[in-house]
């Protein structure tokens, strides 16, 4: 029935930081989680022998077998729905949605079922399901392959929503998400899959082997100041952290000192960190790839304004995609927030 491979938990843990791509870090994180807990299953389309269309699950099928790395039928509602059922039976499914644009057939299962089960059962049932979604643009793809649907999940109570911007966070957060008893939407900025960075693997493995999942959840829910600065707070997450850091460099050359906050978690939002920064700088710009209108930036703007009104020198400005469907990839760089557009907002907020 089961062909679980038992290894000593942590057998893959390296002592010193190693260089990994973000895709590699997620892969390593999945592996560590599967070794730690044989209730962890991977489910999705083409995640088995192929290793997923982005190769994020590469090698896991070989090492853990087809009963733990499951190539499912081509039906997203079915994947999430059966993951819920497996969750009720004590399994922890990590679902891969092949591309952002294909999560919508599963929207009902996620919104009306997955998000609410813990609540409606008075806490008797928990659904530790993780839904991994490669998201956002800049890979030159055709339609439906570059969506940023985060706001649609952030509005729904019962879901957690996180998105790493570095290999280190990817490695840590995928494990923390899997250990979390709540359903987590795990958004992976696909254009950054191949970025390399140092990854220290010890700490989170120790945390989770020690069963500190509550601490892990709290940690996963915190924003990170990716660059300190005193003139403007630039709030970003996932794919735009990279852009924000570049803009900060350009601004520095113009003597504008930009603090970059990487939200990491979109549900919950770490508002205290953003507000603290806003109170220091008095100026806030939010940047995301999703359309500006009703995007995460609207909530950040509203919350920061409520809590730091008299500290603000200028209104919170937002830079995002426009209120239009994703255009042909030949013009996606104009549709998405470019370095120029973010810098323009920095200039506007400073000169306000």
């Amino acid at each position: 029935m089961t062909d679980t491979i038992h290894r000593t938990p942590g057998s893959h843990v390296a002592e010193a930081p190693t260089k990994m791509t973000m895709a590699g870090a997620i892969n390593a994180g999945l592996r560590a989680a599967m070794e730690r807990d044989d209730k962890v299953l991977l489910m999705g389309e083409d995640i088995g022998q192929l290793g997923g269309v982005f190769r994020v699950t590469e090698g896991l099928h070989k090492d853990f077998g087809e009963s733990r790395v499951i190539d499912t039928p081509l039906a997203e509602s079915g994947i999430v729905g059966t993951a819920i059922g497996l969750g009720l039976r004590g399994y922890r499914s990590v679902v891969e949605i092949q591309f952002d644009g294909f999560v919508f057939p599963a929207f009902d299962q996620i919104t009306t079922q997955l998000a609410k089960m813990h609540y409606r059962s008075q806490g008797r049932l928990t659904l530790p399901v993780v839904i991994r979604i490669p998201y956002a643009g800049h890979i030159g793809a055709i339609e439906h392959h570059s969506e940023s649907p985060e706001a649609l999940f952030a509005h729904t109570a019962g879901l957690r929503l996180v998105t790493p911007a570095t290999p280190q966070d990817a490695y840590d957060m995928i494990q923390q998400a899997i250990a979390c008893p709540d359903p987590v939407i795990f958004l992976e900025p696909k254009a950054r899959y191949w970025d390399k960075g140092e990854v220290e693997t010890d700490r989170v493995v120790r945390q989770l082997s020690d069963g500190e999942s509550k601490t892990a959840t709290a940690e996963m829910s915190q924003a990170r100041v990716a660059r300190e600065g005193s003139d403007v707070t630039l709030v970003a997450y996932g794919p735009t952290v990279h852009v924000a850091l570049q803009v900060a460099e350009i601004a520095a050359a113009q003597d504008v000192d930009v603090e970059v906050v990487d939200l990491r978690s979109l549900s919950p939002l770490d508002i205290p960190t953003v507000v603290a920064s806003a109170k220091r700088t008095g100026r806030v710009v939010v940047v995301h790839e999703a359309p500006t209108l009703h995007g995460i930036g609207a909530e950040i703007s509203a919350a920061v304004t409520e809590q730091a009104f008299f500290h603000l020198q200028a209104p919170v400005l937002r830079v995002g995609a426009f209120h239009a469907p994703y255009p042909g990839s030949k013009i996606e760089h104009e549709y998405l927030p470019s370095i120029d557009r973010v810098y323009d907002a920095i200039e506007r907020v400073v000169s306000h």
């Binding site: 729905g81 059966t82 993951a83 009306t112 409606r120 049932l125």
Partner: protein, 374 residues
């Protein structure tokens, strides 16, 4: 309509509608497992649940419940299939399977907490092997399938022992149109999951007759997925027991999914909000009232001399007690505290919930303070 979804072709019937025992070679053996006490168990489940059902309906009419959904008329297949279940099996109901809930050990009046708007899930599913009701039509069929995949994975099928189990998933005729149900059939088929899908075709999805959902009997849906199936007279508890036993045995033995269509009739309204006179004929209702599953089993029990007066008195008393308790309990339940709305949104703390809860508590206490200050 010949060949249409309500055609009676292939229906397994072991008790005809006069309560006379019919023979069916394929199922006689299974039916014969039912001792008289088992038959009375089924009868009791039907009668007590109906008494409860009547009481709940009355409570709704008195404004004590927001809504009530009757099982009226469908007790036959529910009692039969419920009787076929073991403790090791797991039930995914839709929202009308009160008889099965009773058989699984749910104290039925507790269920009214849901319909009174106090909470969404008033029982512990794992304690009684009976999942919460699901109101989004078809969604639970996938949960049931996933759960069955998990049972398989846990080695809970094919051992030949009492520990073997299977999932039974109830759904309506209308639910068969949902994509989710069809995806469930695909997942169940390719994973060979130990699950029995039981369609209670009560001929109506609110005001729509089954002909709006299909042009052939729903039992055939299984053929397209390579899933074995059977069609049963849904007002015959004995046939319901036998066919479901066969199906569960198939699933528990590791042979994979089965689909059952039980042809029955929704004798009442869709829910307490519905008015069937708008869309169906009195004559049809009368026709089916004559085929009441309770009356049918009663005739049979009488005929075989297994319907003693004490038994009748006993279950009548149980029904009355249940109804009475329902009335008393419902009126006794206080509304939950408003702050309970913040409980169990997440299992681990979540800043948005914590912040709003704190705000709300301060806000609430500001009224108390104001009042206190007066």
């Amino acid at each position: 309509m010949a060949g249409g979804p309500l055609d009676t072709e292939g229906l397994v019937t072991l008790l005809d509608h006069h309560g006379r025992r019919q023979s069916d070679e394929r199922f006689d053996d299974l039916a014969s497992r039912l001792a008289p006490s088992d038959l009375r168990d089924m009868y009791r489940a039907m009668v007590v649940t109906r008494a409860f059902d009547d009481a709940a309906m009355a409570l709704q009419r008195q404004g004590e419940l927001g809504l009530w959904v009757q099982s009226l008329g469908q007790e036959g297949i529910q009692a039969g299939s419920g009787k076929a279940l073991r403790a090791s099996d797991y039930v995914f109901p839709s929202y009308r399977e009160h008889v099965v809930a009773y058989q699984r050990g749910l104290d039925l009046p507790q269920m009214l907490r849901l319909f009174r708007g106090l909470e969404h899930g008033p029982w512990d599913p794992s304690e009684i092997g009976f999942h919460l009701y699901t109101l989004v039509i078809g969604a639970h069929t996938l949960h049931a399938t996933g759960y069955a995949m998990g049972m398989d994975r846990d080695g809970r099928v094919g051992s030949g022992t009492e520990d073997d189990g299977a999932v039974i998933c109830y759904l309506g005729d209308g639910a068969t149109s949902q994509g989710d149900f069809n995806e469930a059939l695909t997942f169940a088929a390719v994973t060979n999951a130990p699950i029995v899908f039981l369609i209670q075709n009560n001929q109506w999805a609110i005001s729509e007759p089954t002909t709006r959902q299909s042009r052939i009997p729903l039992v055939h849906r299984a053929d397209g997925f390579g899933i074995p199936s059977m069609r049963v007279d849904g007002n015959d508890p004995i046939a319901g027991y036998a066919v479901t036993s066969w199906a569960l045995e198939h699933a528990r033995s590791g042979n994979g999914p089965v689909l059952i269509e039980a042809l029955t009739y929704r004798m009442g309204a869709h829910t307490s909000s519905d008015d069937p006179t708008k869309y169906r004929e009195r004559a049809q209702e009368d026709y089916w009232r004559e085929r009441d599953p309770i009356a049918r089993l009663e005739s049979y029990l009488t005929e075989i001399g297994e319907f003693p007066e004490e038994f009748v008195a006993e279950i009548e008393a149980e029904g009355k007690e249940m109804a009475e308790r329902a009335r008393t309990l419902v009126r006794s339940w206080p509304a939950p505290p408003a702050t309970s709305m913040f409980d169990h949104v997440y299992a681990h703390p979540h800043a948005a919930v914590e912040t709003e809860r704190e705000w709300f508590e301060r806000y609430e206490s500001s009224f108390t303070d104001t009042e206190a200050a007066r």
